[in-house]
């Protein structure tokens, strides 16, 4: 706990306190919450906050992962270690199984990413979950900037942005009707940089693929993709070994990595801070961070 003179919390402590408050509020008011786990850094930070909110008791809800069949093995390993340490129930909803059961239709054109949605909604309905924690942040995009911490979903699982409930003070309205559920976003007010700072401060274990490592990759649509049996090469695509890391983790057939030598959280924070300027450039395969940008930011006292 770091404090300043005059009883002022640091920004990370205040964000943490707000998120813990949200976790406790949901558990107190909802019959059957669940945490949606993607394997990524944000959902791991959620697990850490949930652990803190209920300690020394166990996290009082299960963890749900939608398995696309194309997950990175490193992500699965980290997930399993977290689940074992916390002693929580893990529910795996398999897209493969959902296709077999006719819950979602694989027409060969729809990505696994999209098929996740139907699979997820089916599990929420089957298990009767009334609240589902998600790792979404408002800094991610313009539409999310307006989403509530408690985001209401109707009986079809739909979000109606025109009809959101006003959210005042820290008084959350958890009223739902039979068959509806609430998506809960405890990380709403965190930015990508906050997440990394917190991972660094708390020494939180995240999948190793976030850090620089050597990997056999090939280029497609300006992105560097991982060599894999799930990802057959198309004509003229060529596999080469590079030092890379992933900024996000998901379906390995779609998730691009970037060339990077950042092997510690501190180095990643530095990279994220600079790449805020050229993040899209990186995914477009354009050039990377300029030395000048780095220097400019250091001059201004950044980090």
């Amino acid at each position: 706990m770091s404090t300043q003179a005059g009883y002022q919390l640091s920004h990370l402590d205040e964000l943490e306190a707000e998120s813990i408050h949200i976790f406790r509020e949901v558990v107190a008011e909802f019959e059957k919450p669940v945490l949606m786990f993607s394997g990524g850094k944000d959902s791991i930070v959620m697990l850490r906050l949930a652990e803190k909110a209920f300690y020394p008791a166990r996290v009082p809800f299960p963890v749900l992962q939608v398995d696309t069949g194309y997950d990175f093995p490193e992500v699965i390993e980290t997930r399993d270690r977290w689940v074992e340490r916390l002693g929580v129930r893990l529910i795996i909803a398999s897209v493969e199984q959902a296709i077999k059961d006719g819950i979602v239709v694989d027409d060969g054109k729809t990505s696994r990413n999209r098929l996740q949605i139907g699979t997820l909604l089916h599990v929420i309905e089957e298990e009767g979950f009334t609240a589902a924690f998600g790792g979404g942040r408002r800094d991610e995009e313009k539409a999310r900037a307006k989403e509530r911490v408690y985001s209401h979903r109707d009986e079809f699982g739909q979000w109606d942005p025109k009809n959101q409930r006003p959210e005042l003070w820290s008084l959350y309205n958890g009223r739902i009707h039979e068959g509806e559920h609430m998506r809960i976003f405890p990380l709403s007010n965190w930015t990508e940089l906050d997440i990394w700072s917190y991972i660094g401060r708390e020494q939180i274990e995240i999948p190793s693929i976030y850090f620089a490592h050597n990997r056999r990759v090939f280029e497609r649509d300006g992105m560097l993709l991982s060599e894999s049996d799930h990802n057959p090469l198309r004509n003229a695509e060529e596999v080469k070994e590079r030092q890379v890391r992933f900024r996000t983790v998901g379906d390995l057939t779609l998730t691009g990595c970037l060339e990077s030598s950042a092997s510690t959280v501190e180095e990643i924070i530095e990279e994220v801070a600079i790449s805020r300027v050229t993040e899209r450039g990186a995914t477009r395969g354009d050039d990377r961070f300029s030395e000048a940008a780095m220097e400019d930011r250091k001059k201004e006292g950044y980090f």
């Binding site: 020394p56 006003p166 401060r201």
Partner: protein, 417 residues
């Protein structure tokens, strides 16, 4: 990352015309919260529209396109940081649904930012914004006198607006007012002080936002701890552990403090305060902690831990200013659900005393209902006593929301008198 960074939440209100989007765009840009390719696209759009300058309003222009698509304009949250502070902006549009959105945005704000166009001076809209920020007890108010470049950076223009606004806010509750002449477009006095206005001796806007002292805004005297959840691990190792989890709403709590639990009135002492696996010396707002008591009392969600000689008065009769947020009006005899701290009860609307005209501050006593975006003084009777303080002393224990029991929608927000 600097561990000593803290957090400031501020609310802005206004329309595109007064330069609010340009100002926010400037703050995001100059603090590097904007991508270079975003800026490039804004520059290209500005050029293609034949502007002489880069229109920074385009950076935050989600709102305009949304308006064209007919989506309800709403509070949007934006983020930026300097090495000193992280900022959360609750950005509320000025026109449509302004009261509902501004009340929402201001409810969590430490500071309210009102913009006026230097050429126009104070308008009905800027007065309204000041009234709402004052009603919501936002502790710090900044008036940015924008577009100073269009009045030749004239000191007298600034002085006139300064006099008008100070006179107007003297009728309101505005504990801390700062008035800054700026040009969001040219960047004058936004991040750095401008040499075009040597007569102005105050800080730049960003400097003020970075340094405004907010630690003493919360009540650090009157201990208020609404119990949110009882942590009882059902494990052998922690067999006897019972922690009352919650967020400190007021006061500084320490181990050994004598406390009283409401509504039972039973007393005990704090045996320890836990934050995850560490016992901490003291807890203060807005920390989320678990409090252990020396005695085995029956304490549950909705109860409040306070001090024996400093406790809120439990009451079923609530007198409050209510902001109404849905088209179907609030009427006397209507029954609603009420959520106050961690306690939920039912409430009956006993009386609507007056409706407040937020443009004139006139109190309309001949009213029997409150419509969408109206604010009025209301008396409620609740099924259970609420453990409340006046909103003026504590924004957490003095606020509540009203919920329609049939639809589940949040229909109103209240501030207890």
């Amino acid at each position: 990352m600097d561990e000593q960074m803290d957090l400031l939440r501020f609310a802005t209100a206004g329309s595109v015309d007064d330069g609010k989007s340009t100002l926010i765009g400037r703050l995001l840009l100059d603090s590097k919260a904007i991508f270079e390719d975003q800026l490039a696209s804004v520059e290209a759009t500005s050029k293609s529209r034949g502007y002489d300058y880069t229109d920074l309003a385009l950076l935050t222009d989600g709102l305009r396109s949304e308006r064209e698509q007919g989506i309800t304009i709403d509070v949007a949250y934006r983020y930026f940081a300097t090495p000193r502070r992280k900022f959360i902006i609750a950005d509320t549009p000025g026109h449509v649904q302004y009261t509902r959105n501004m009340v929402t945005g201001a409810s969590t704000a430490d500071l309210g930012l009102v913009l006026v166009d230097a050429r126009q001076g104070m308008t009905e809209q800027s007065r309204r914004h000041a009234v709402l920020l004052s009603l919501l007890r936002v502790p710090h108010l900044v008036l940015a006198v924008n577009k100073m470049d269009l009045v030749d950076y004239d000191e007298e223009v600034y002085n006139q607006i300064h006099r008008d606004f100070t006179a107007f806010t003297s009728k309101l509750t505005v504990p801390d007012l700062t008035i800054i002449p700026i040009s969001a477009l040219q960047g004058d006095n936004v991040v750095t002080r401008s040499d075009k206005m040597p007569w102005y001796e105050g800080p730049s806007l960003l400097h003020h936002l970075e340094h405004v002292y907010v630690a003493s805004d919360r009540d650090l005297v009157d201990t208020r701890f609404p119990v949110q959840y009882v942590v009882r691990p059902k494990s052998d190792k922690w067999h006897d552990y019972r922690g009352y989890a919650g967020r400190v709403a007021g006061g500084v709590m320490k181990k050994g403090d004598e406390v009283m639990v409401l509504p039972s009135g039973l007393t005990s002492r704090i045996a320890g305060i836990d934050l995850f696996d560490k016992e901490i010396d003291e807890a203060y707002p807005p920390m989320s902690v678990s409090v252990r008591l020396e005695d085995d009392l029956d304490v549950s969600r909705g109860d409040m831990i306070c001090r024996p000689k400093n406790a809120p008065t439990p009451s079923q009769d609530i007198d409050a200013m209510v902001s109404w947020m849905v088209p179907e009006p609030m009427r006397v005899k209507r029954k609603l659900a009420i959520k106050h701290t961690t306690r939920t009860a039912r409430a009956l609307v006993k009386n609507i005393q007056y409706r407040l005209d937020i443009n004139t501050l006139h109190r309309d006593q001949d009213t029997h209902e409150l419509g969408l975006n109206e604010i009025g003084r209301v008396q409620l009777r609740t099924t259970q006593p609420l453990l409340c303080d006046p909103y003026a002393t504590n924004r957490d224990t003095g606020s509540f929301i009203l919920i329609d029991e049939a639809t589940g929608v949040t229909v109103g927000a209240g501030m207890i008198n």
